[in-house]
């Protein structure tokens, strides 16, 4: 067991998978000599050479597009998009090709690639550097969409994503990169994609969160336990798509109530699917409408107003209380 922060845990997963499989390579802006702007790919180029850890020109569509070509050949590229806000530049390559090549070629080709991107707020950065765009990928059939909530899940899910035969969009919460260290097993570990975890057991209400919002949800659960005596069950989604509906429905059948937390804007956001799926599977158990605690439906707010935009513990606590009182 080593105690690692999320940057180191991700770096470890990359290192292990590259040692394990020569077909794994890393591609992106500044991922090589510089080790990535957040240092996630630190030292990999020194270890594996500049043919395998590639400092690409500044062009997201070509990063993804050439990686699709590599994947068609049988390689397993792990691309980094420097910030999720710059991935719309390659959205056509993702939607038109990453997600479709298996279908289009009826299985003759598949795209075993991973697209890593830092997302979300918390680093006092400028426009396009703090947004939360998971919804766009979750709605694309053929893709998987994964968001770890800390060092251990980051390491285990990145390993799984790299080994997965299908394309995986892998979001890393910037706010978690250096947030906390966690014990990470010495042996390489791959956690299952498509499976949510119960981060805290409870029976009063199901609080659904992922990524950087898991911490917020857990803190809210603590307060609710202490101040209200309410045992809130916290579900850490980990995979956004395909959504682990079973885990959600099972929990809400027990608790009868749910609140969803995410950093993305509310309307047509991931919380909508989560709420609709829960209603679909646990309608008769539901004792209150499912509230969504989210960012607001505005394009961006600048970091001086970020705290008021992104869900925080008081907002989550208030939403849970309202839902419990419904």
């Amino acid at each position: 067991m080593a105690k690692l922060n999320m940057v180191k845990a991700l770096n470890l997963a990359l290192l292990e998978e590259m040692e394990r499989d020569n077909d794994v390579l890393v591609l992106g802006e500044d991922v090589g000599v510089d080790g990535g702007v957040f240092r996630v790919t630190d030292d990999l180029q020194r270890k594996f050479g500049s043919q395998r850890v590639i400092d690409s020109p500044l062009a997201e569509a070509a990063i993804i597009g050439t990686a699709v070509g590599m994947a068609l050949y049988g390689l397993k590229p792990v691309c980094e998009i420097q910030f999720s806000g710059f991935a719309f530049q390659c959205f056509h390559q993702i939607e038109n090709h990453c997600a479709r090549y298996r279908m289009r070629s009826q299985g003759r080709f598949h795209i075993p690639m991973v697209i890593r991107m830092p997302y979300g707020g918390g680093v006092r950065a400028l426009e396009h550097h703090s947004e939360s765009e998971e919804q766009f990928y979750a709605h694309i059939p053929g893709l998987k969409m994964v968001i770890p909530s800390g060092p251990r899940t980051a390491r285990g899910l990145l390993a799984a994503a790299i080994r997965d035969p299908d394309p995986v969009i892998f979001f890393e919460a910037k706010a978690l990169y250096h947030a906390a260290k966690e014990d990470v097993p010495d042996e390489s570990e791959a956690l299952p994609i498509g499976r949510a975890q119960i981060a805290r057991e409870g029976d009063a209400l199901t609080l659904v969160a992922y990524g950087a919002m898991l911490r917020v949800a857990l803190e809210a659960a603590d307060i609710l336990r202490i101040e209200d005596g309410a045992r809130v069950e916290v579900i850490d989604l980990l995979t956004i798509s395909p959504l682990d509906r079973d885990a959600l429905v099972t929990s809400v059948k027990k608790t009868g109530r749910a609140v969803v937390v995410h950093e993305a804007p509310r309307s047509f956001g991931p919380g909508a699917e989560i709420a609709a799926s829960i209603m679909d599977g646990a309608f008769l158990s539901l004792e209150a409408p499912i509230r969504r605690v989210t960012a607001h439906d505005v394009p961006f707010v600048g970091f001086a107003r970020e705290k008021a935009n992104v869900p925080d513990v008081p907002r989550v606590v208030a939403a849970v209380r309202e839902t419990l009182a419904f």
């Binding site: 690409s56 020109p57 070509a62 597009g65 070509g69 068609l72 298996r102 070629s105 003759r108 299908d166």
Partner: protein, 380 residues
Amino acid sequence: MPRITLEPRFQVEYLSVLDSDGNLDTALEPKLSENDLKALYRAMLLGRRLDERMVRLQRQGRVGTFAPIKGQEASQIGSAFTLRPSDWMVPSFRETAAMVWRGWPIDKLLHFFAGRLEGGQPAPDQHDLPITIPVATQLPHAVGLAYAVQYRGDDAVVMAYFGDGATSEGDFHEAMNFAGVWHVPVVFVCQNNQWAISVPLKKQTHSRTIAQKALAYGLPGLQVDGNDVLAVYAAAREAVDRARAGDGPTLIECVTYRLGVHTTADDPTKYRAEEEVRMWEQKDPLTRFRIHLEKRDLLETGLEQRVDDEIAQAVRRFEAAPPADPLTMFEHAYATPPPGLLAQRDEMAAREHAAPALDGQQPPAPVDATPMRGQRRTRR
């Protein structure tokens, strides 16, 4: 403290081998055996006849929208001919002649244009990508394939096709630039057929040639008479050899012309003059090469019939194929369908079971469906 012209200046070459009367510039003639010459002609002819057949099938509603290649046979076959089976071919959507030459079964192409997923599946040992429809998006794939070839130390070259219109897309630019920086074995073949649907080249770009766009990436660019199969072959040969030798990418501009409709949904009389078409018909690549072969006494008798028979057999196989099973749509979304998708499949299976058996083939378009524009109207 000067104002100087940077040296060396930049240049782009133009190549042509056969003139429109089929006469040869022997100094530039590529080394090709008589069998090669026959094979080139046969592939071009097959492309032309298949094209005509496809358009008829579309008019009869037996396949959907189709993009004919008429006029571009030399550009396609002259270039694809330089590839080994172990090389990779990356088509856009207008390379049926080249695809068939590379070994795509004709009936599979028919399935493709009949909107059936089955038509997009290359054979397991075939080094060809399926048709890509979003313009220019296949070009980075070609560069990535070429990178992978180099990474693995394999001996292969990648050839990518696209049109003049495609050069306006960002993906063209980014792919060329990555290819230049990575110095990978890829050959970019632009079929400059003068039109992108209704947009003529001069509204597409202000540059004099497509070939000169290579200069932006520090790459060699060559313009070639795209209706001259020997010139195209010679240019592609040079580029493929260079790529194979590790000397990097090349951009080839084949100056050609789309003699037919953009697709079967298009009516070119709206945007271009008959005279222009007539003028280019004089340069028909098939005619020109036939005259040349005639002079060399290399024309095979009965070839047209044999080619037509091959097509007819494929059409029969296509029409005899079992109906498209809707349930198979769930098979290739993921390696393993996730639970939610399986549930959707089960729902459909229950519906299909309850409903009277579907014949699977799409019924003729309902009366009120929108025809793709010009579907029933166009002439060529």
